[in-house]
Subunit: 492 residues, 2 copies
């Protein structure tokens, strides 16, 4: 194993950046990518390289790399493909140790592109330079205010990191980091993976203290053996969740013309994933959801789930979904049921899910949850509906903006305390908890803010019982995988 984390420093923590192909023309990617790098707040020096301009976007420009007055760590490259190999040569000569090749038109477009790509990689490797791309849309790392990328997407810092062979999927996922409030540790659009493969980025993220979970979109593997060896090593430290595209003939065909990826047989891939503990996601939403579920969450001792629900139908749907995904909707003990009996109204129907039967008894939801956490028969908890955490305040019809603001602030404040309390229980009893809710009582932008706040606090909040049960099943299965590896003595 030839792994050296410091090799990634010029890429993910560069002290200065050369920008090859920097442009003042607002329609060009050389403008947009540089603009995003500047707008993202990057703190190191930026050296635009453009032989025709004195300044680019008000920053002094250089005709060639050799004229830059220091040795940049990273070169961002946004120039036509035929010019790239020559520029890589100049980078190597100038001591630049990492390149981010955004330019497309290489292996994905045919033989000529393939040859160019091979030439580029050869020059880089000979010179000890690592490359991301080509045919990618950039990287982002909020903790370093590093956003050299095509899309103007600026998530807050978070603990979910993304490795994607598709730029637009990388962007889709990064945007979920914004909307959900979870933020992003690091996003890499790996493109054609001419030099660095997704498994190299896994290795980097395994040792990145800012990353707790890795989510990945893959169309095909350049080196399957190396990929799975890496994944097995990394997956013990940090869960890897993967959406594999190209599993059908139609998808494989599309992947081939997209990133020149040869998608393999899905059954073989699935077996290898299982062995390495890689969690397979079903679609984009599922992929990010599962990532959310692993943040700041204890492992589950088993698959026995206790469900608390504010609505009967949601309870039935969660029980069904849980059972389908391999959770055991556990029969609650007499002791647990009689503890619940003391809290819930007489027309409550004892059982699991624990249905709050539209009850608005103050505190009943939190008390019921606590009973389920304490119950020795449960390993994990699904919570459906959060309205029971909030004081019900009838709102007047003549609501003004100030009242709306105050109302939202009060609600967020109450929920913030409730979330902390639930998280404390999860930690105390070492049982993961996943929540789904609607916000039927929302006014103004309350709904977005509730979901955002929950995300910032690392409290996974979904919109359907199905999504919550699915994410919990992944936590449970992965906890089982880790336990097996531990029992087999495969772990330090």
């Amino acid at each position: 194993m030839n792994y050296a984390p410091e090799k990634f420093q010029p890429l993910f923590d560069p002290r200065s950046i050369a920008f090859i192909g920097a442009s003042n023309d607002t329609g060009k990617w050389g403008y947009i990518v540089l603009r995003n790098l500047i707008n993202g707040g990057y703190q190191g020096n930026i050296y635009p390289v453009n032989p025709k301009e004195k300044t680019v976007q008000h920053i002094p420009a250089y005709s060639r790399i050799s004229e830059i007055p220091e040795v940049p760590d990273l070169a961002v490259i946004v120039i036509p493909p035929v010019l790239v190999p020559g520029v890589i040569e100049e980078c190597v000569a100038g001591g630049i140790r990492a390149g981010l090749v955004i330019t497309a038109g290489f292996a994905e477009v045919g033989e000529e592109g393939k040859a160019l790509q091979a030439e580029m990689v050869e020059k880089a490797r000979k010179g000890g330079m690592i490359l991301v791309g080509p045919n990618c849309n950039g990287i982002l790392r909020p903790s370093r205010k590093l956003f050299p990328q095509m899309p103007a997407v600026f998530p807050p810092n978070g603990r979910i990191s993304i490795v994607s062979q598709s730029g637009n999927v990388a962007t889709s996922l990064s945007q979920r980091g914004i909307k959900t409030g979870y933020g992003i540790g690091c996003t890499v659009s790996s493109g054609n993976e001419a030099d660095l493969h997704c498994e190299d980025f896994f290795d980097f993220l395994a040792n990145d203290p800012g990353t707790d979970v890795i989510i990945s979109y893959v169309e095909g593997l350049k080196d399957g053996r190396r990929f799975f060896e890496t994944a097995k090593r990394v997956g013990i430290k940090k869960p890897i969740i993967m959406l594999k595209a190209g599993g059908t003939e139609a998808g494989a065909q599309a992947a081939l013309s997209h990133t020149a990826s040869l998608a393999g047989l899905d059954s073989a891939f699935q077996g290898a994933c299982r062995q390495c503990g890689i969690i397979r996601a079903n679609n984009l939403e599922d992929l990010f959801n599962i990532g959310m579920g692993f943040i700041d969450q204890p492992r589950a001792r088993g698959n026995k789930v206790g469900i608390v629900t504010m609505g009967g139908g949601w309870g039935v749907l969660a029980a069904d979904a849980g059972a389908r995904y391999g959770l055991d909707v556990v029969r609650l003990s007499d002791k647990t049921l009689s503890a619940l009996n003391e809290i819930l109204p007489p027309w409550w129907n004892p059982g699991n899910p624990v249905d709050m039967v539209a009850g608005n008894i103050p505190g009943a939801l939190m008390k019921s949850l606590k009973i389920l956490f304490e119950a020795p028969e449960t390993d994990c908890i699904l919570l459906l509906g959060i309205i029971g955490f909030i004081k019900i305040r009838p709102l007047p019809p003549n609501l003004n903006l100030e009242m709306v603001d105050q109302h939202i602030a009060n609600t967020l404040n109450e929920l913030s305390k409730a979330i902390q309390e639930v998280k404390n229980m999860a930690r105390l009893y070492q049982k993961p908890v996943v929540t789904a809710t609607e916000i039927p009582f929302a006014v103004g932008n309350m709904e977005e803010r509730i979901f955002y706040q929950a995300g910032r606090k690392g409290f996974p909040l979904f919109r359907t019982p199905d999504a919550a049960a699915r994410v919990m099943s992944c936590i449970v299965h992965h906890s089982g995988y880790i336990r097996e590896r531990q029992n087999a003595g495969n772990l330090p």
Copy 2:
């Protein structure tokens, strides 16, 4: 068959309403349901019945039903269960022809409740009165401004109607009617279905000119044979999409204590659904999504799909999902490809999905779409990404509110025209189209407004390629079912 649509008039189009259990106590359901009825803007007379109050919520109240000065069409009943049979008797005596029994505590809580429920139904049927419920959370019908319901949910008028055995699921779905912009034709929370079953409501909706598609949440059937006979008859006129809960043991157990439903074997149910053309949904989101897909959409002649995508990864995901759901990602003819060649940039990789390769050539997206619609080899179209319909306007960093408003208005306006153009093509070529997009360029509340506007126009817009492919597959399968029935001569 004993079907008479006029029997539903007092329930869904009542000229006046008696409200039994009307309350001035803001914590009681008798207050909240009446408040929602009033706030919803109901235009007929409302007669609160409460022996202890002179007025309820400022409306003159009556001690008993017999004192009401006209014969109300509908009685909304929110009183303790033991009092319900007596009140039904009074309703019958007073000539009231329909009752909405919101009260819970009947068959779902045990033997005593079962007996009460049987007594209530017997009295109603003897008197020719139809009943919804008990143990339901109400009905809503925006076209009649009719909202006698527990939740304060007021969707705009739309063409999707909902029949749900769970009140909270009914509410979840009605809220999707608000958020998506699709609105709701009619929502019925059918509760324990002591008298009217979900199939009765299907019969009503089959003849309701305001309803184009029926979505339904079912935990168990009271009379399976009658249900499927009705569904088969109704499903030819309007697609029925169903989420069936209780398919697992855990779910069936939960359903039993929720609405006293005996959930049957899923495999038998699935077979019966297939025969009747009922489309099975996988979860709440899927259920509403499929409903959206059928609004204002031509039938598909076959399963051959053409895909246009603004991003490569999304194209691969859509191809995979499409293939998994039974769509044929069709090989485009040389004629189609050369027409596309004239529009797309030279580095375009000819194939299906048609990848716009991050191109921002004005008009290219609409032109490519048109080529796919025209192509005789396609039966239906998936469109991924809508940014190509919008002029790209770089926004200054010092954006003020007025500029944001103007920008959103311009964008909505451009999109509105593009949507109309795409819908016109769908109609002209008789090929359904489903779209998925993200709105990475959103400022302010642009994203919500784009999705809402699309929904108001009946243009199904989803957030992931998987969701779009899934919905299209349902349209394609259902079109095939209708074709088979037509070919078999089973249709008028």
